[in-house]
């Protein structure tokens, strides 16, 4: 048996795949990945995918944005070149803060959103010029594919295919 054999099990319904995945996991079979045209709700905990921490990143980027905006405006407007605008008090930072609220907010959102988007692109490795790695082109249309490695489960490809054929698959392929 070749070492890097992969089994792809194709389904034509997301709910059948989800039920199949539950049964396979109950039998102790490890599912490497699932390719689908849309998110299958409830699948992630079944195949052991943890909730992403992207939101925490966004929060940190937002804090960086807020800090930069406030520090920048403090330097520009209070320290470096204070201007008398309509007699509004600007001797100290706290006096001028009401006027800084809109830009602080906008800059926080700007950095949080773009920082998060950039992290998302890099973590997913979806960037211009990257080649797609989905095993079948149909998985972006109406097919759902499970990727299982026989070596992960210590069984032969034939045994695994036998388990899978009971789960409502429409096609099982070994590559």
């Amino acid at each position: 048996m070749a070492h890097n054999k992969v089994i792809y099990a194709m389904y034509d319904d997301d709910m059948v795949l989800l039920e199949g995945a539950k049964k396979l996991v109950a039998k102790g079979i490890y599912i490497r990945d699932v390719f689908s045209p849309f998110p299958i709700h409830g699948l992630d905990p079944v195949i052991g995918i943890k909730q992403t921490r992207l939101a925490i990143c966004a929060f940190i980027y937002g804090l960086v944005g807020l800090t930069l905006a406030l520090a920048g405006m403090y330097y520009f407007m209070i320290v470096d070149w204070p201007m008398n605008i309509g007699g509004k008090p600007n001797d100290f930072f706290y006096q001028n803060i009401p006027a800084f609220v809109p830009i602080s907010f906008e800059f926080t959102v700007l950095l949080a959103a773009h920082g998060m988007a950039l992290t998302y692109f890099i973590r997913n490795w979806t960037l211009p010029g990257v080649q797609a790695r989905n095993p079948y082109p149909e998985t972006t249309d109406d097919r759902f594919v499970m990727e299982i490695h026989p070596t992960d489960n210590g069984m032969t490809a034939e045994e695994l295919a036998k388990h899978l054929s009971e789960m409502g698959t429409i096609n099982i392929e070994e590559r």
Binding site: P37, F38, F76, A117, N124, Q131, A132, R133
Partner: protein, 459 residues
């Protein structure tokens, strides 16, 4: 699986499968453009070219080619700016606010509404840009030390807040839209067979794979970006309104402006979405996805925001009298009875009176009538900005400097041009981009698709 109440109308009509949704939505991308597309595209291109010509003439000759004068220093330029920004509010409202409120009906319209938003904000940005006169010095608006010396831009000025608000709104909306587009570009990439389109869509799809972890991240980023974009939508038009509200011009200097502008923006944005989608669903055979129910929902938003706008107009009128400031009172008497009375009453009729007809279910579910009303609302919202800007300025404190504003052909040409460019961009979008979010529609097929709903009822 998520179950939906049987009394809710289905959002996807007909016996659709996942594959058929792909076929229906991508028919325009994989097929050829029809005759009506080419005709509309031709007209829009001519308008766009005429507008670009006028803009080049304006930049070459100067702002004097507009009808502005010493008293009316802001007129059609800022009217058009605020009008376009307002139109640009529906897209992100639909995709962000309605996502947070879990309104599934947004899924049929959010993609094209966001595209509309992005194009409208681009058109809005044209106006302050060309109003600068010397557009090659546009980098002055960024916080670079002035002339690279030691003077900074004024962070106390609402005009600078606007620079930050518009650029943040534009770039965040663009990223939000594109992240949603990536999986659908991947669908096109895996479907087209010709070499050049395949390469182009492969590039646009960023190598999207659609594995479980990617979808997990996709849902998280959609939710968080919606959460970030929601206050952003409300902040942008609030800040636009502060351009006026923080000045001391009678008629501008009011605290009601931010909520009043935001509801007006949503009002006009939804009207523009209706204008575009009523045509698009017909031309592209998307009646099963953008249903009468969707149109009715949007009309309900129009009643709500139109009524808020109406209340704001009346409040403004009342406060101008109640404040006891005679200049403030005069500004409003002049609006209603002065030489620009016609624009005031056009605004009142189009924005306050006409949306109220949507209380009748027969009218708000009538497609032809809705289309007519959507245009009326946009005319009304243009007049709202014109009334606020020009009629507040044209009679200032000294009667000797009272004037009228007369648009020149350059004013008119530039405005027509932005409408043309907007439609050119939108038509290209509808031809080459997936106009409905495939991946999102497929997630609601089993809960809101017609055949699944009838099956669930039979059980």
């Amino acid at each position: 699986m998520h179950q939906e109440s049987a009394i809710r109308k289905p959002l996807i009509l007909g016996e659709k499968t996942y594959g058929e949704i792909t076929d229906d939505v991508l028919a325009s991308v994989t097929g050829k453009a029809n005759k009506s597309w080419w005709i509309v595209f031709g007209i829009a291109s001519v308008m766009a070219l005429w507008g670009i010509g006028c803009i080049l003439y304006l930049l070459g000759t100067g702002i004097g080619t507009w009808g502005l004068n010493k008293t009316v220093g802001w007129a059609w330029d800022i009217t058009n700016f605020v009008w376009w920004v307002g139109i640009g509010h529906a897209g992100t409202l639909i995709s962000a606010v309605l996502l947070l409120f879990r309104q599934k009906w947004r899924m049929a319209i959010n993609r094209s509404a966001e595209a509309m938003t992005i194009f409208a904000v681009m058109m809005a940005a044209v106006w302050p840009g060309i109003h600068m006169g010397r557009i090659w010095l546009a980098y002055f608006v960024f916080p670079l030390p002035n002339q690279f010396g030691s003077l900074w831009v004024n962070f106390n000025s609402p005009l600078l807040w606007d620079v930050f608000a518009i650029s943040t709104y534009f770039s965040v909306s663009l990223v939000f839209w594109y992240i949603g587009l990536i999986p659908d570009f991947a669908t096109i990439r895996d479907r087209v067979t010709k070499t050049v389109p395949k390469q182009v869509y492969s590039l646009l799809a960023f190598g999207w794979t659609g594995n479980a972890k990617a979808w997990n991240r996709f849902e998280e980023i959609s939710l968080v970006l919606a959460g970030l974009a929601t206050p952003l939508v409300f902040s942008v038009h609030s800040i636009v309104s502060m351009d006026f509200a923080t000045s001391v011009i009678p008629g501008w200097h009011t605290t009601i402006f931010p909520p009043y502008f935001v509801s007006g923006a949503v009002f006009s944005g939804f009207a523009m979405v209706l204008t575009l989608l009523i045509i698009m669903r017909k031309v592209m055979n998307l009646e099963n996805y953008i249903t009468i129910k969707h149109i009715e929902y949007m009309n309900i938003v129009i009643i709500v925001t139109g009524s808020i706008v109406g209340v704001a107009y009346l409040t403004e009128l009342f406060i101008s009298w109640y404040s006891g400031v005679e200049y403030e009172a005069y500004a409003f008497i002049n609006r209603a009875t002065g030489p620009y009375w016609w624009s005031y009453w056009a605004m009142m009729t189009c924005n306050v009176v006409s949306p109220q007809v949507f209380w009748f279910k027969k009218l708000r579910t009538n497609i032809g009538f809705t289309f007519f009303m959507s245009i009326i609302v946009n005319i009304g919202m243009w007049f709202e900005r014109f009334v606020i800007i020009v009629t507040s300025l044209h009679r200032d404190y000294l009667p000797s400097s009272w004037t009228m504003f007369h648009p020149t052909f350059v004013d008119i040409g530039c405005f027509i041009g932005t409408i043309g460019i907007f439609f050119v961009l939108f038509l290209l979008f509808s031809r080459f981009f997936p106009v409905l979010p495939l991946n999102e529609l497929k997630t609601i097929l089993k809960s809101s698709g017609e055949q699944y709903k009838t099956k669930a009822e039979e059980h």
